[in-house]
Symmetry: C2
Subunit: 324 residues, 2 copies
């Protein structure tokens, strides 16, 4: 997958560079209402001079639907975009998922650049080429494998991100450190690691480079990419269950607890050190995440949810991603 | 582009083979109301045993829209399709364009097989991976480059095709013979070539294999594939103009006249033999196509239409595809 990650302390510069080097006939920035209000506004003058149009979609996962997609396609058509135009996705995972899919299908595919503005998008969603929308009640039911030609990472964009969203993304950063067995993990478990911007800058690089490496070894998710699912087997079940009882939790919170389940199983089955699990529980889980809004009564339904997801099942059993 | 073309005299057999070899968890056939009524009905019992569901869309270019696409996505979701399901597009260009795009994007892409039922689709649309829908008033505004994994060609399916549609597809067959300078051209200009099923079987193979060869040398339409546009520069203008004055002509008719323009320019600019142009006019154009429904008065508007299509313009001039 040809995907270049650019680390910067001023995201506007690399956007200018991308436009100068890719020479699109039109450059269109896609963002959402929250990012527009909180982040883009700081650079509005510089950005307005560089792009031909700005498409603002509603913020939140509920906007990741067919109506919004059709709206973006229509705006691209109205702006006179051609196969030689460029889309710049400026926002979190919803913007890069939907904007990426719109670009991947407009005129049978135009180039796009991702500028993630959330920690979750920096560490995960903006990289690797998975784009799409939710449809007919299913997440990412419709989409394409289409990589952004460039991903521009500016950790400074996180300064206005709400604490809860920072914590949600942190779980994916920790996940990458765990599955890559990266030494930065020892720093991530220190107090207030999440607010140490120099550390986070390095952690984002570890997570993004690591994800790209794994994705490149398996672009269509046939094998190695599965390890990215560490913590997600139970995590997705926690997320669905919490939503079903009207007490929704963040993706990161769900994954953080999902990783605890996977770590414990890694001890039982693979001899993973118990000490590491305790360390994780103490320094990551308890420090950054609220207790789950349900108890043991959820067990049967959680089992059912995990078994229902076909991706989890191999030879009739739940196929956990575990560490060694 | 991994695309296998299978030539057969019984299309159902290779569909069974595809299902047996690709082992999808679901096999869904997509067709349109006309093809369903005129063609599929003859094989209904055999096909019903092989596929899990049949999705029938309205026939005609006007069905190639977002509503129909959403309907197909919904039906695939309702049928419980997964990433390991298979779509079989059974119909003309609208079915393979829309069904192919639906498959290319459902769950970020599932495999599909094309079984073209029109001469135009056999010679052109079903091969090469261009899929998509019309959107916001533009043809193929949204889509993907996604090849059918197999294309099953059964010339016998043409037996119920209306004469006008046969003639429309014939123009693309003749185009391929001209641009490939294939000896079969001398047979195609003989009387009643269009109704000689043995000849047409060979001509379809020439056109389909030829298109695949060109497409494989240029899958994303950056260079060589442009030669497939022979006859289409003026042809598209004829088609648009005829529609604008309320006297629509078929795509093939437009291309047949577009090829005359391109052949004459090939004489003037490249020394292409005048005798060949006369031969084309006498044995193809006059034999199979009605006179255009407009005269010289259309000239300024036709020029404008050609210049308006950015694909046609290079260094400020119309960039004709010509023969030598």
């Amino acid at each position: 997958m040809e995907q270049e990650i650019i680390y910067t302390r001023d995201w506007v510069g690399p956007v200018f560079d991308a436009i100068a080097e890719l020479v699109p006939d039109k450059a269109i920035l896609i963002t959402d209402t929250n990012v527009d209000r909180d982040v883009l506004t700081l650079q509005r003058d510089r950005i307005y001079g560089a792009v031909d149009d700005i498409i603002t979609i509603s913020s939140g996962e509920s906007a990741k639907n067919l109506d919004t997609l059709a709206y973006v396609w229509k705006r691209l058509a109205d702006a006179g975009c051609t196969r030689h135009s460029l889309v710049i996705n400026f926002g979190g995972g919803v913007v890069s998922d939907l904007g990426g899919f719109a670009a991947a299908t407009f005129k049978r595919g135009i180039q796009f650049v991702n500028v993630p503005t959330t920690l979750l998008a920096m560490a995960d969603a903006a990289i690797g080429g998975k784009t799409g929308i939710d449809f007919a009640g299913y997440k990412n039911e419709v989409g394409a494998f289409a990589p952004a030609c460039r991903v521009i990472m500016d950790e400074g964009l996180l300064s206005t991100l709400p604490e809860r969203e920072l914590r949600s993304g942190f779980a994916e950063v920790v996940k990458m450190a765990l599955i890559l067995n990266d030494p930065i993990y020892d720093e991530l478990i220190k107090e207030d690691a999440l607010h140490d911007s120099e550390l986070m800058r390095r952690a984002i690089k570890m997570a993004a480079d690591g994800k790209l490496l794994i994705v490149n070894s398996d672009p269509y998710e046939k094998g190695a990419r599965r390890m990215l699912n560490f913590g997600h087997t139970a995590g997705h079940a926690f997320e669905s269950y919490a939503e079903s009882i009207g007490k929704p939790i963040s993706h990161g919170e769900a994954v953080a607890y999902g990783m605890l389940v996977a770590l414990r199983l890694s001890c039982d089955r693979n001899g993973y050190p118990v000490k590491k699990v305790d360390e994780y529980e103490e320094n990551i889980l308890k420090r950054y995440y609220e207790p789950l809004p349900f108890g043991e009564e959820a067990e049967p339904e959680l089992q059912r949810l995990m078994a229902h997801d076909k991706k989890n099942i191999k030879n009739g059993e739940i196929n956990w991603v575990l560490l060694k």
